[in-house]
């Protein structure tokens, strides 16, 4: 579904993405793992077209995404730090997104809005929100348009355990519908029940892209966190 | 008793008139058919009455002291070839004609009506249309030219004459005439002791009024409007200009009034409105400019450094782009009690006179004088900045070009 071929990106002298080639398919739930500054977020932004690679290309359903924008209809994106127009209320932001993105064929998925109880906060301005509530808004927006692909950058950071569970359940439910889920997280323990594949990046390079079973058998560790730790210590 | 005497006096006058001066009528079924014949027949003191009609006569020469009077404005036509009326005798009256289509010749200076070396000639109530020169007085004295309406349709300066042209004349009265479309509306050269009043000179190709070497003349209540280069007066002393209007003289080299080598003169109560330059003065000395109004001119006045001892009192300066311009660094002229709408001073003792001097000249006007393309920056912020700086610390503008006693209120003129 998403194929990245030899994608490189440099910020000044820093090589953030170094010749990354990845193939992501429907029904997979891929964990994007790596230390801070390994290029995970840049890679995600490249898929979204927010960062334009210096070389290499990315295709979405077989089409090159460069200068394309229509493919983003099929993506729900939850950024690491949700930044929204500060003067708008939650309601206005959601309405605006509906206004911009909604068309007759998509069925709105308001599960998370309800599960997070955002209905009661609709009149709150974005600038008054806590980090956690912001994340709730981000998550709700990512799932709202029932997209085929979900890209979640540190989805559970800042969420309380209850909200975190709600979100995880939602991700599992969507995965079961055959959607592609791309997820980055530092908290590896959370990913255990979710992921089918692991992409491990370090210093802009792709270290490996394996299925979770293969990671487990290779390392002999059951827990993802242990498995990764054993890889990193090598 | 008084009435009786009066009646008898009038009666006797009428008797004398009829007995001494004959009346000759011209026209179809009148005494004679042509004006030429009438003049041949006439004696000094006779009256020739011309009845309506078109008279295509070559060059009517009046060499006797007669009155040539048109009734209901007969037309004298020069067929674009001739001078129509030439007056070569004194005490002649030419009145009530329409004189049209003169010939054109720069060699002979053909005019509609021309006076040759005569005195006490009166030219009045004529309409001069499409002529080379209009009314031309050559070596005349004590003549009156009044209530004439002169029009020409000339294009270039070279192939056109002047409306009222006087040369080497004295004690002339030019009154209430209108001149349009000539080279110069009114032109004087070597004309002295004359009075020019209530004339309108507009839309002439070069100057509305142009005079040189014409001393001790007085100009009252004339209007000079929309002429190619305004009014130019040169090499003359003893000029009085009172209550004239100089307006709408636009153009790159246009003046309301150009004074060149003028001295000992008096300019009062005139209005200079919307001219490129209200007054341009060069080599002018000892003139008094009093109680004039300068409104909406580009420069109200430009005083070249060659001017000295001029007095500029009690004038109103309103809405001019520049009040005063000059080219030198010294000023020998005196400004006093003028009202300047750009004055920003104060009057603590409330005597109506500003407590700080007004400098009517701006640094920018000096810059433009030296470097004309700087005009491009007119009204830009940098110019304002320069002018303000210069006002606070004058360095370049003439130190003594200032009005020490500026009026706080507009003067009622």
């Amino acid at each position: 579904m998403i194929i990245a071929t030899n994608v490189s990106k440099q910020f000044g002298k820093l090589k953030v993405l170094d010749n990354i080639s990845v193939n992501c398919n429907k029904g997979e739930c891929i964990a994007l793992i790596g230390p801070n500054g390994s290029g995970k977020t840049t890679f995600i932004k490249s898929i979204l077209g927010m960062v334009v690679p210096d070389s290499g290309f990315i295709t979405f359903n077989g089409k090159n995404i460069i200068h394309d924008w229509v493919y983003r209809q099929h993506i729900g994106y939850m950024p690491q730090i949700g930044r929204y127009p500060e003067n708008m209320t939650i309601g206005q932001v959601i309405d605006m997104m509906k206004d911009i993105r909604h068309n007759s064929t998509t069925v709105l998925d308001t599960d998370l809005i309800e599960a997070f109880n955002l209905d009661k906060l609709m009149q709150k301005r974005m600038r008054t929100l806590s980090g956690g509530t912001r994340q709730k808004v981000s998550a709700s927006l990512a799932f709202l348009f029932n997209p085929d692909v979900l890209i979640l950058d540190e989805p559970t950071a800042g969420l309380d355990p209850v909200a975190s569970e709600i979100l995880k359940d939602k991700i599992i439910a969507e995965k079961k519908k055959g959607k592609l889920v791309l997820i980055t997280s530092h908290i590896l323990s959370e990913l255990d029940d979710l992921v089918t594949h692991v992409i491990y990046m370090n210093e802009g390079k792709l270290q490996f892209h394996k299925s979770i079973e293969k990671v487990r058998t290779d390392t002999g560790e059951e827990k993802l966190s242990k498995a990764i730790a054993s890889i990193m210590s090598k | 008793m008084k009435v009786f005497i009066l009646i008898s006096v009038i009666a006797s006058l009428v008797c004398i008139n009829t007995s001494l001066a004959a009346v000759i009528t011209v026209g179809k079924g009148k005494d004679v058919a042509t004006i030429h014949q009438a003049i041949d027949k006439a004696n000094n003191g006779d009256t020739v009455l011309v009845y309506p009609g078109e008279y295509h006569e070559k060059n009517i020469l009046i060499n006797k002291s007669i009155a040539l009077i048109g009734i209901d404005r007969p037309v004298i036509d020069g067929d674009h070839a001739y001078e129509m009326i030439s007056v070569a005798a004194s005490n002649v009256v030419v009145k009530g004609f329409r004189v049209q289509h003169s010939g054109k010749s720069s060699l002979n200076d053909i005019a509609a009506i021309k006076i040759y070396s005569s005195s006490y000639v009166t030219i009045e109530n004529n309409i001069v249309d499409d002529s080379f020169f209009g009314i031309f007085a050559n070596n005349a004295s004590s003549c009156t030219i009044r209530n004439n309406y002169l029009t020409a349709y000339n294009k270039g300066e070279q192939e056109s004459g002047n409306g009222i042209h006087c040369w080497k004349s004295d004690s002339m009265h030019i009154q209430n005439n209108t001149a349009t479309g000539f080279r110069d509306g009114i032109y004087f050269e070597f004309v002295t002791h004359s009075i020019i009043s209530r004339n309108l000179s507009e839309k002439n190709i070069r100057y509305g009024l142009h005079f040189m070497f014409s001393h001790n003349d007085t100009y009252v209540s004339n209007t000079f409007r929309n002429n190619g280069a305004g009014v130019a007066v040169m090499f003359t002393h003893g000029v009085k200009m009172i209550n004239n209007v100089f307006e709408n003289n636009w153009g790159a080299a246009s003046y309301g009034l150009l004074l060149k080598e003028i001295s000992d003169s008096y300019i009062q109560d005139n209005r200079f409105l919307e001219n490129t330059m209200g007054i341009y003065m060069e080599g002018t000395s000892r003139i008094a400019l009093v109680k004039n109004l300068f409104k909406k001119n580009g420069y109200a006045m430009k005083i070249m450094a060659s001017c000295a001892d001029n007095k500029l009192y009690l004038n109103n300066f309103l809405g001019n782009s520049f009040d005063v311009g000059t080219n030198g660094s010294i000023s020998l002229n005196e400004f006093k009690n003028n009202y300047w709408d750009k004055y920003e001073g104060y009057d603590l003792n409330r005597d109506g006179i500003g407590d700080v001097p007004y400098r009517p000249i701006s640094l920018y006007s000096m810059i433009v004088e030296q470097n004309p393309p700087a005009m491009m920056l007119f009204r830009s912020f940098i110019v304002t900045l320069l002018d303000k700086t210069e006002k606070v610390i004058p360095a370049i503008i003439p130190e003594n070009l200032k009005d020490n006693y500026p009026s706080m209120k507009q003067l009622s003129l």
Binding site: G49, M50, M97 | -
Partner: protein
């Protein structure tokens, strides 16, 4: 695109700065026309205001607005929307808001007190200057990542167009005083939209002052239909080129 434009305009209006700007212009315009007994002189004072304040407000406000809406831009970029639409909506929203602010604040008083060709030209020039300086602001801020640096550059740019450029021209004129520069000046004036607008209005306002050969040359050019057409084309270029360049930059900008 219209939808985003709508959100940009609503967002700008909500900030109330534009409202304050409008009221400020209204206050100044009416007080100028009421204090000056001569409405033409009022128009002249207003000219200085338009040439000075309007570019300043336009460039600073647009720059700050751009940096303050970085969140909004980021959000939009991750959505299925063309970057071109986002950028043009941003530009359009600023142009509409500041244009309306100028029209209400200065245009309406001019139309009340000086409903003639000069007044009309002045409104057009003011609108052009508003939009041109929005375009310049967007270009400078899309290039500069840092907000403080961006605002600094905006102020410098304004200073350049409002003052420094004219100073350079004056310097140039004196350096090359021996050469006939009148015709060159016509060309040079098109390098600065403020100068160009000023000259266009002045030729309507007090021609008599632009005298001498320079005046004649300027009038020969700017007074004709061709000259006016060229002048307005140049003003339009002053909008199109910065918008085009900034759009190109924005399309490949990493967010």
């Amino acid at each position: 695109m219209q939808k985003i434009l709508k959100y940009v305009v609503v967002d700008i209006l909500r900030s109330r700065i534009v409202l304050a700007y409008t009221l400020f212009l209204l206050l100044i315009s009416f007080s100028i026309f009421n204090l000056e007994d001569n409405p033409e002189k009022g128009l002249l004072s207003l000219l200085n205001l338009i040439l000075f304040i309007v570019p300043l407000i336009s460039i600073i406000f647009s720059t700050i607005y751009f940096y303050n809406s970085s969140e909004f831009i980021e959000l939009m970029v991750s959505q299925p929307i063309k970057r071109k639409s986002i950028w043009l909506s941003l530009f359009g929203g600023l142009a509409v808001s500041l244009g309306v602010a100028f029209f209400v604040g200065a245009g309406i008083p001019i139309l009340i007190y000086q409903p003639n060709i000069t007044g009309f030209l002045m409104i057009i020039a003011g609108l052009f200057l508003s939009v041109i300086f929005i375009a310049i602001a967007l270009l400078s801020s899309v290039i500069t990542r840092d907000k403080a640096k961006g605002i600094g550059i905006a102020i410098l740019l304004w200073l350049y167009f409002a003052v420094i450029f004219d100073g350079l021209v004056l310097f140039l004129l004196f350096q090359f005083a021996d050469y006939p520069l009148e015709k060159v000046m016509v060309g040079i004036s098109s390098l600065n939209p403020i100068d160009l607008s000023r000259i266009l209005i002045l030729l309507q306002l007090d021609v008599s002052a632009l005298m001498g050969y320079t005046g004649a040359v300027f009038k020969d050019f700017f007074g004709t239909a061709t000259g006016i057409t060229i002048s307005f084309s140049v003003l339009i270029l002053w909008i199109v080129i910065p918008v085009f360049l900034s759009l190109r930059k924005f399309k490949s900008k990493d967010l």
